[in-house]
């Protein structure tokens, strides 16, 4: 009977062992990319460490075999159990030594696991089991356990529980094996009572981790963003995180900063007012994107605007910005203005189907970083937009940074010209973004940058406006291709430009 307990424990021990290896491999490929490299190095390090562990097991004295086995199980339970959460936090809070920690953890777990099987074999051997039978039984269960986890991990555990929680779960299994061994062999293990206590403590830690790992992800992200997170939600389209530090509210979408409340007025005044000041007759305005309601806030300041249509993909985004108190304060509750109509639809598809026409359109899409997004800055898309804007109307496009991504910026400009717009490129400095660019487009060549603003502004005045429409020598126009859908030149420009800037 007692022998059987040991053999059974091999099954669980083997499954836990493989699980930690898979978790480390999956987590590092998730965080660092290049899964082939990550898995190879993790597995290599792990197997080597197992060899070291097996070697070390010879230094365990015969009478201590069971006690050491229990200790090893507890150590694996603790280290293995917290490894995934620890790695995640380390990546979020201090990105530099992540790899060091990864391989240290993998090595430690591997070495401990390398000790397990030799110890079990010795314990069985001491109980006079026939050698052939012993080897066969132990290894059979070793491999069976590995099979079970290899199948469970990708199908059930990783998708359902996530990596951090799976780690805690397997840690608890290791501790359970230790407790079971103590329970079965009781008297044969010195200091059993003390070990039970230790096991209980570790079990509680792991259990708390299992329950609280959602919270851990939150803390991890707080590390990444640096500030306190006031809102975080994952929608089918994106992960929205809102942080606060003193009076600075920030919105991140998929980890990219969208605005900081300290300087967003610069961005949104620059986006909206040069065009709106020139359209005192404008009644209907279209915003594509802009689910934060900030461009909306600026447009609604004009009493002659009778209707604003805002098309944003994500209903959870517009809901958040029309209900959350600090955000509503920021956008002056613009979503509840009776002149506003919110359409939660894919802007590109909506433009294709709508028959409405507008006096002004503001296009505030994410940067053209993928081929899918690049299509929203293309010749046919702007052609479509042109059909829905009045002949005297204006279009303004968020166009990335003319300083950091000049080829991309001027490609967007060339694309607007390609569909017959007259273009009036301009730029401004937004401290949290750097130098940022817009392009104002008109079907007729009648735009003059405003010399004054009818409404009070925090940032814009005549001088600033004049400067915005002037490009200094280090930001001059470059000759680039327009963004045709067939070649998608813009996405390549954008990629190359930012590669040059980001280390």
């Amino acid at each position: 009977m007692v022998d059987r307990i040991l053999v059974i424990s091999v099954f669980f021990v083997a499954s836990c062992g493989l699980a930690y290896e898979l978790i480390a491999g999956a987590l590092s490929s998730y965080l660092l990319g290049d899964s082939v490299l990550q898995f190879s190095t993790v597995i290599g390090c792990y197997l080597f460490a197992m060899g070291v562990g097996a070697h070390l097991s010879r230094y365990v004295r015969d009478q201590d075999v069971l006690a050491r086995f229990v200790d090893v199980e507890l150590a694996i339970g603790l280290i293995g159990g917290v490894s995934a959460a620890l790695l995640f936090l380390a990546f979020a809070w201090l990105s530099a030594p992540f790899r060091t920690l990864l391989y240290l953890l993998v090595f430690a777990i591997g070495a401990l696991i390398g000790m397990e099987i030799p110890l079990v074999m010795r314990a069985l051997h001491a109980r006079k089991a026939a050698f052939a039978d012993l080897v066969s039984r132990v290894l059979t269960f070793d491999y069976l356990g590995a099979l079970a986890v290899a199948l469970l991990f990708p199908i059930v555990l990783a998708p359902r529980l996530g990596l951090a929680r799976s780690g805690f779960l397997f840690g608890m299994v290791n501790v359970a094996v230790a407790l079971w061994t103590i329970h079965t062999f009781g008297t044969a293990i010195a200091g059993a009572r003390q070990r039970v206590l230790r096991a209980a403590i570790i079990f509680v830690i792991l259990g708390a981790g299992f329950i609280g790992s959602q919270r851990l992800v939150y803390w991890g992200e707080r590390g990444m963003y640096g500030d306190e997170i006031v809102h975080a939600l994952t929608t089918p389209y994106q992960r929205l995180v809102i942080t606060r530090w003193k009076d600075d509210l920030r919105l991140y979408i998929n980890g990219n900063l969208q605005f900081s409340s300290r300087d967003e007025h610069r961005y949104h005044e620059a986006l909206v007012h040069p065009a709106m000041q020139s359209l005192p007759w404008a009644r209907s305005v279209l915003i594509l994107g802009g689910g934060d309601g900030l461009a909306l806030r600026e447009i609604l300041r004009y009493p002659h605007v009778k209707q604003v249509t805002l098309v944003d993909l994500d209903p959870q985004m517009t809901r958040l910005f029309s209900t959350s108190e600090p955000l509503v304060a920021l956008n002056h509750d613009s979503f509840h203005d009776p002149r506003v109509r919110v359409i939660n639809a894919d802007a590109a598809r909506w433009v294709e189907t709508t028959e409405e026409s507008f006096d002004a359109a503001f296009i505030d899409f994410p940067d053209p970083s993928t081929f899918a997004l690049g299509k929203l800055y293309s010749v046919p898309f702007y052609g479509l937009v042109k059909k829905h804007v009045a002949a005297h109307g204006l279009v303004v496009v968020q166009a990335t940074s003319p300083y950091f991504a000049p080829h991309a910026y001027w490609s967007i400009e060339a694309t607007l010209r390609e569909v017959g717009f007259q273009t009036f490129p301009y730029h401004t400095y937004v401290p949290s973004f750097g130098e940022w660019g817009f392009i104002l487009a008109s079907s007729e060549n009648d735009f003059k940058p405003p010399r004054q603003y009818a409404l009070p502004m925090r940032y814009l005045n005549a001088d600033v406006t004049q400067e915005m429409f002037t490009f200094p020598p280090d930001m001059q126009r470059i000759s680039v291709e327009p963004n045709h859908l067939n070649s998608q030149a813009l996405v390549r420009y954008f990629d190359e430009d930012w590669h040059r800037v980001i280390r």
């Binding site: 059987r4 099954f11 069976l144 079970a148 894919d346 802007a347 590109a348 010749v379 067939n486």
Partner: protein
């Protein structure tokens, strides 16, 4: 006892999880065999049923593939209104499409190269449908970019990572790159070459190609032996050229005429003002988009008749045909027409045309070999995770695989968010089997066998994730998908005779060219309509 229980329990656990895994790895498919039942009945039947009613019409168009639809479109345009279209067993033929929920996908061909200068019939069609927006007959027309394939157009899975383009270049050495350059400069010179008759060496439509023996002699050897003669050895280049033959003609390059092999590269040199060289036109539902536009413009209304023409012959008063409808029972109607367009493949025509000798058409001599294809649509409930390298493209090819890769039906979408679902259309010409053996295999293959064959490329690209993301597989078995342009095909006498038919039956099908291309099918349909219109004047 307890040990036994435990071992059993452990085995059950391992077995259970394996079973769960295996079960999730299974793919469910529906299999469609368009025209199989009707075709085999036509082949095997001894006596045709007696017709009940008689329909009279001015022009009968038998077949609703691209040739038949182009003929109907032109006839309507030329003011010939009394046209009866008999669809054949599958409406739109090789240009057909399928649908599942709001997703549409091709069950046949999926793209059209930019038309060459000679393809005026295609340019006319595209201009009329608004696909060419300006300068339809110029060197570089402006196209509606929604239908020009969006970048990235293609990629190849080579040594575990995806690369841009079809031809692996990143890991190939200087010798390989040198050969690639030599091949393409050779193509360049052939593309502009003209024969003694002043015509281009390789033109689309094929009929407008030069008859100069300098080029025609290429039809006597296979593409493979021509390449060997030219000293090409690069494995990646040879793989690519063989791939092109399989992709367009359904067979390996050692079975394809060298003339046809070169025609693939030299004939399709249409340009656009707003696309790169080599761009193509494509739609989520493939060429069904164009077929449907042709159908709408032909404005057939009630003159569209589902059913098949089982017999066709010239009579003193014009043409007589038997229209059969398989609708549980067999319904048979006589059709009397002044003129007819037989827009059907030659392997069907041999059973339908009761007086073939009159046109010097001999079934034994003139019916070409047909390549069997599987067109399999994997309706995906999610996009599976990609391997390393360039992102998902429109056409995705796996290096050195028997399959021909897969096309993404939602690639042309212009939208902010990624669609939740998509369809991957996997093409597989059964070119590793002799065509008749492949057809016998298709007859007996279970849907599981077909899925195995159809999913090879996708399995390599996505591994065990493929089944987890797949909602449904719709397989279309096209056992006679296309005529194979084997050496000698250009001089086949029956084909030449059918093209020259003075009526009352005119023939229209890409089989008259021997190349299964939209442009060729449309050419013969267009020409038949012109000939019919000429009989009026």
């Amino acid at each position: 006892m307890r040990r036994r229980d435990f071992i059993l329990g452990a085995a059950a656990l391992a077995g259970g999880s394996s079973a769960l895994f295996v079960e999730q790895q299974r793919l469910a498919a529906t299999v469609d065999y368009p025209g199989r039942e009707q075709g085999h009945w036509l082949r095997d039947t001894q006596s045709l049923p007696q017709p009940g009613d008689t329909i009279e019409t001015d022009v009968l168009v038998a077949g609703s593939g691209i040739a038949g639809l182009t003929a109907a479109w032109q006839l309507t345009k030329l003011g010939i209104g009394d046209v009866l279209m008999v669809s054949g067993p599958e409406a739109q033929g090789n240009a057909a499409a399928g649908r599942r929920g709001d997703l549409v996908y091709p069950t046949g061909a999926h793209y059209l190269p930019l038309p060459s200068m000679e393809s005026r019939h295609i340019r006319e069609m595209l201009f009329e449908f608004g696909i060419i927006q300006r300068d339809p007959f110029g060197e570089r027309p402006i196209y509606d970019e929604r239908f020009l394939v969006h970048g990235p157009a293609e990629r190849v899975l080579f040594r575990g990572a995806w690369q841009d383009g079809y031809l692996p270049t990143e890991d190939s050495g200087p010798a390989e790159r040198g050969e690639q350059e030599r091949f393409f400069s050779l193509i360049e010179s052939y593309s502009s070459a003209r024969g003694k008759d002043g015509r281009r060496a390789f033109a689309v439509p094929l009929e407008l190609s030069s008859t100069d023996d300098r080029f025609r002699s290429l039809d006597r050897i296979t593409f493979k032996s021509w390449l060997e003669g030219m000293g090409f050895k690069s494995p990646t280049l040879l793989w690519y050229l063989d791939y092109c033959c399989r992709d367009d003609y359904g067979r390996h390059f050692d079975e394809i005429s060298a003339w046809a092999g070169l025609h693939y590269f030299c004939g399709r040199d249409g340009l656009a003002a707003n696309a790169e060289r080599g761009a193509v036109l494509t739609w989520p539902q493939g060429l069904s988009a164009l077929a449907t536009r042709l159908q709408e413009s032909a404005n057939l209304g009630r003159n569209w008749h589902a059913g098949s023409i089982a017999q066709l012959r010239a009579v003193p008063s014009g043409v007589e045909a038997l229209l059969v409808v398989f609708d549980g029972t067999l319904k048979c109607t006589r059709v009397k027409a002044r003129l007819a367009v037989a827009a059907m493949p030659l392997f069907v025509l041999q059973h339908v045309l009761s007086d073939g000798a009159r046109y010097d058409f001999s079934a034994k001599r003139d019916v070409p070999t047909y390549a069997p294809w599987l067109v399999s649509n994997f309706v995906m409930r999610a996009f599976p995770e990609e391997r390393a390298g360039v992102p998902l493209a429109w056409d995705n090819v796996v290096y050195q695989e028997p399959g021909l890769g897969y096309v993404v039906s939602t690639h042309q979408d212009i939208r902010l968010g990624r669609p939740e679902r998509t369809a991957f259309t996997a093409y597989h010409a059964l070119s590793d089997m002799e065509p008749n053996a492949a057809r016998r295999w298709l007859q007996s293959a279970s849907s599981a066998d077909l899925i195995d064959a159809a999913s090879q490329d996708l399995r390599l690209a996505y591994g065990w994730r493929l089944p987890l993301c797949t909602e449904h597989v719709a397989i279309t078995v096209r056992a006679h998908a296309m005529a194979v342009p084997a050496p000698g095909f250009l001089s086949n006498p029956g084909r030449i005779a059918l093209r020259a038919s003075p009526g009352p039956i005119f023939f229209a099908h890409s089989d008259l060219s021997g190349l299964s291309l939209f442009e060729e099918a449309a050419w013969w349909g267009y020409r038949a309509a012109q000939q019919i219109a000429a009989t009026r004047r």
